[in-house]
Structures are given as structure tokens and as C-alpha cells.
């Protein structure tokens, strides 16, 4: 409003692109000349000399090579295409850990049955290796050592079959299946290394749509299931496999057995957003309201 033509032109000029070496045209005085190739690249290069056969290089033929020009197709091409390795590199992996090895590590003293067992304590066992860079997202309990398993534990794993759940509950134990995203798995596998980074404890994410049905289901003892329905399913499973379910409320270990993690919690006794300083042995908590809202929701 009320700007003169000169002022408007100056305003436009202020936002116009500057003249640089990139956007300037070629000089009419010194036009760019065509560069002719020299040496072996001149006049079509080595086009007139045909490529060497593999026998002329002193190499062995590649694996699967058939030196028969008459053969219509190679031996491995006759097999129909079934994409076995289609999404193998991208799927979430859950390495095995058997009930036998849990009983073994309890007997050797590597696992403490008087404390709740989670991914961190399983990673401490020498016969279990978890590498998050290989897309390992947790541990799945398998059935070897089903009958000899005899210890009362409170365990949290990522996947367990029905017979494994029955074997643990037969001895008066408690099992929950819980999901951890890859960021919290990295924190859980080596907590000392994670705390040394000086980063706050991450917020645990909810399970993706392909496995959310598993963790809502009380039959799988999912961590998002209703606890009243889990109590019903415990009784049903005891009737199915034919064992008497021990009463946990009268148990001396009841306080330990009833310990569970919050769906947003990664470590026991620590909340997301806290920073653990191992050197000075102190815990730093967020003060800002925005950070508190981010971590608590």
C-alpha cells in the first residue's frame, strides 16, 4: 500500500536469485569446447577389440556355470520360483531359549528365581546371544525340558507356546508375554552400555498391528490383556492339562510374583525420561512440563 514502482522492484530484487557460477550462462567470448578423448579412449576406444572369454582370464568359472551353449536352461533355473527369502531380512526375529536352559541357569546361579526375570536377566546367561542389529526383538520360550522344569518364577518373555505356559504355572509361577520395540530392546540387552551413553530411558512403544492381537489375548498371558480374564484362563489351562493350580495369595513369594511392568515401562523401578548417571550414582528426572507430558502419555 502506497509503495512506489521503484520500491516494489527493489523488493522483488531482494528475493530474486543471485548470479553465481552455477546459474550463469556460458560466456559468448569463451564458449565451451568439445573435449575429444585421447589415447585408448579415442575414436570409439576398444570397441573394435572384443571382450575376453572367461577362459582367457586365469579364473575358475563362477559357481553354477554350465559350459554348454546347447543347454536351453541351467539346472538351477528349471526349479520353479518360490520366494523363500522374500521378507526374511526384514521380519522380526525372536531367538530361542528353552525351559531346560532356564532350569540349568537357575541351578548354576546365573538366574535368580527370587526376583522377576525379564530380557535383561536372560541376556546375562552365557548360553543366550541376542543381537539387535540382526533384527532380534526379544526371546521366545521353547518346550525342551518341559517335564523336568521345577522352579517357581515370575518371568516375562516375548513369545511362549501353550505348553510352556502350562509348565510354568504348574510350578506356581507366573508368565507374561510383552512386546518391546527395537529401541528398548537395545537398552535392555546391555543396560550398562546404554546408561553410559547419557541418553534418557526411551518410551516403550505399543505393539505393531501384526502382533497386537497376540498381546491382547489372555490365553497368551499378554501384557495388555484384562487380568480378571487371565485368572479365568489360568484355571482353564489347569483343567486342560490336569494339574492343581496353587493359590498364589497364600504364597510367601506373592509380592514378587505380582510384580509387573507398566506397558510404557522398560526397566523395573525406572520410568521413561529418567537419566541414570552410573559414575556419580544418581538419577536425573525431567523438570520441564512438556517433557513430562511426552513421557507420561
Amino acid at each position: 500500500m502506497g509503495f512506489s514502482v521503484a520500491e516494489k522492484a527493489l523488493h522483488i530484487l531482494r528475493y530474486m536469485p543471485r548470479v553465481t557460477a552455477k546459474n550463469s550462462l556460458t560466456s559468448p567470448i569463451h564458449p565451451r569446447r568439445r573435449i575429444y578423448p585421447r589415447g585408448q579412449y579415442a575414436r570409439g576406444g576398444r570397441l573394435h577389440y572384443p571382450n575376453k572369454h572367461y577362459t582367457q582370464y586365469q579364473l575358475f568359472p563362477p559357481a553354477g556355470f554350465v559350459n554348454d551353449p546347447k543347454s536351453s536352461s541351467l539346472w538351477f533355473m528349471k526349479v520353479p520360483v518360490t520366494n523363500y527369502y522374500k521378507d526374511v531380512l526384514h521380519r522380526r526375529q525372536y531367538p530361542h531359549f528353552s525351559l531346560y536352559s532356564i532350569q540349568l541357569s537357575i541351578d548354576l546361579g546365573n538366574l535368580d528365581p527370587n526376583e522377576p526375570i525379564d530380557l535383561t536377566s536372560i541376556c546375562r546367561c552365557s548360553n543366550f546371544r541376542l543381537n539387535p542389529s540382526d533384527n532380534h526383538n526379544g526371546v521366545q520360550l521353547t518346550d525342551p525340558g518341559l517335564d523336568l522344569f521345577s522352579s517357581q518364577i515370575n518371568i516375562e518373555v516375548q513369545y511362549a507356546s501353550e505348553q510352556v505356559i502350562a509348565a510354568i504355572e504348574r510350578n506356581g509361577g507366573v508368565i507374561t508375554t510383552a512386546y518391546y520395540d527395537i529401541g528398548s530392546v537395545i537398552a535392555l540387552t546391555d543396560p550398562k552400555k546404554f546408561f553410559a551413553k547419557g541418553e534418557p530411558i526411551p518410551k516403550r512403544l505399543l505393539p505393531p498391528p501384526d502382533c497386537i492381537d497376540y498381546y491382547i489375548n489372555p490365553k497368551n498371558r499378554g501384557y495388555l490383556a484384562d487380568p480378571e480374564e487371565i485368572a479365568k484362563e489360568r484355571l482353564k489351562l489347569a483343567q486342560k492339562y490336569g494339574y492343581t493350580l496353587p493359590d498364589l495369595t497364600k504364597d510367601p513369594k506373592f509380592k514378587m510374583l505380582s510384580l509387573r511392568k507398566d506397558p510404557r515401562q522398560v526397566f523395573f523401578g525406572l520410568e521413561p525420561g529418567w537419566v541414570v548417571n552410573l559414575k556419580d550414582k544418581e538419577i536425573l528426572k525431567p523438570v520441564d512440563v512438556a517433557w513430562k507430558e511426552f513421557y507420561n502419555n
Binding site: 563362477p62 539346472w75 533355473m77 520353479p80 518360490t82 531380512l89 530361542h96 521366545q140
Partner: protein, 147 residues
């Protein structure tokens, strides 16, 4: 030298009777031609072999039968069933396939509800019998996992 001593020690630990295979000229030649990328220095994988074959954890390979989805209208039900099954690859072809596919795809992988899980374990023995191929060391890994 040390590696060969360790290998021979593990060989002797196997429960099953085993006839040791000496270093022959043919096996030495076969193990040699594993090619690597010039720029990335990664071992080559043959893309066509990767589409058609699957490696089990103990070193065996499986494939589908040729023509398992062709002329289904004129095949009786038992032939349709017979054509649909997956079968093991021959030993000679296994040795070539070991060199055609990079070790990235030969790693042991553990998924939930995997349909190939029962076939990944060959026997009910604690240790797997060693294979003839010197390229593959999968049986050593399986022996360590089952301990």
C-alpha cells in the same frame, strides 16, 4: 594349523561313526571360486538361485518340484499333492549352492510360528554329523546351539 587341529578335535567328538574325508583335488578346487564384489567387497549371491532354494539350519537345501502349479486341471488329486511337496536337493548341488549364496542368507533365523522350524533340526542327537562340504561350517554352529 591351529584351525585344522580344532576341527579334528570337534570331528572326534561326534557320536556317530564318521569316515574322515581327506583333502582331495576336486574339493579343493570347488572351495576356491567364491567371488566378491570389487567395490563393496561383499560376497556375491546368485539372484536366481536365491528365488528358488531355501537353506535349512543343518546345511540342507529344499526346493519345489518343477511344474507344481501347471496343468492342475488334468492332474488327479494324488498327483496334485505329490507335486505340491518340497523336496531336498542333491548333495552335489548343495555344494554348489553353498558357494552361490552369500553367508548373509545362510545365517540361522528364528521367527515365531515358523513353518520350517521342525525341519531345521535334522536328528534328535545332541551333535549333528559333520557334512562333507568344507565350505559349510553350519554343523559346528548347530552343535554349539544344542549344547
Amino acid at each position: 594349523m591351529l584351525r585344522s587341529i580344532v576341527k579334528s578335535l570337534i570331528f572326534n567328538q561326534s557320536v556317530l561313526p564318521h569316515t574322515p574325508v581327506g583333502p582331495s583335488a576336486i574339493s579343493a578346487l570347488q572351495t576356491r571360486n567364491i567371488y566378491y564384489d570389487r567395490n563393496t567387497s561383499q560376497p556375491h549371491t546368485h539372484p536366481e538361485a536365491l528365488k528358488r532354494y531355501f537353506r535349512l539350519r543343518w546345511g540342507g537345501w529344499i526346493r519345489a518340484r518343477p511344474g507344481f502349479k501347471r496343468h492342475l486341471w488334468r492332474k488327479p488329486f494324488w498327483l496334485r499333492w505329490w507335486a505340491s511337496q518340497h523336496i531336498f536337493v542333491k548333495k552335489e548341488e548343495c555344494e554348489i549352492l553353498e558357494r552361490m549364496i552369500a553367508p548373509k542368507y545362510k545365517k540361522s533365523r528364528y521367527f515365531v510360528d515358523d513353518i520350517y522350524e521342525p525341519y531345521h533340526k535334522r536328528t534328535n542327537f545332541d551333535t549333528c554329523p559333520p557334512g562333507r562340504s568344507r565350505v559349510s561350517s553350519s554343523w559346528v554352529k548347530t552343535a554349539q546351539e544344542n549344547l
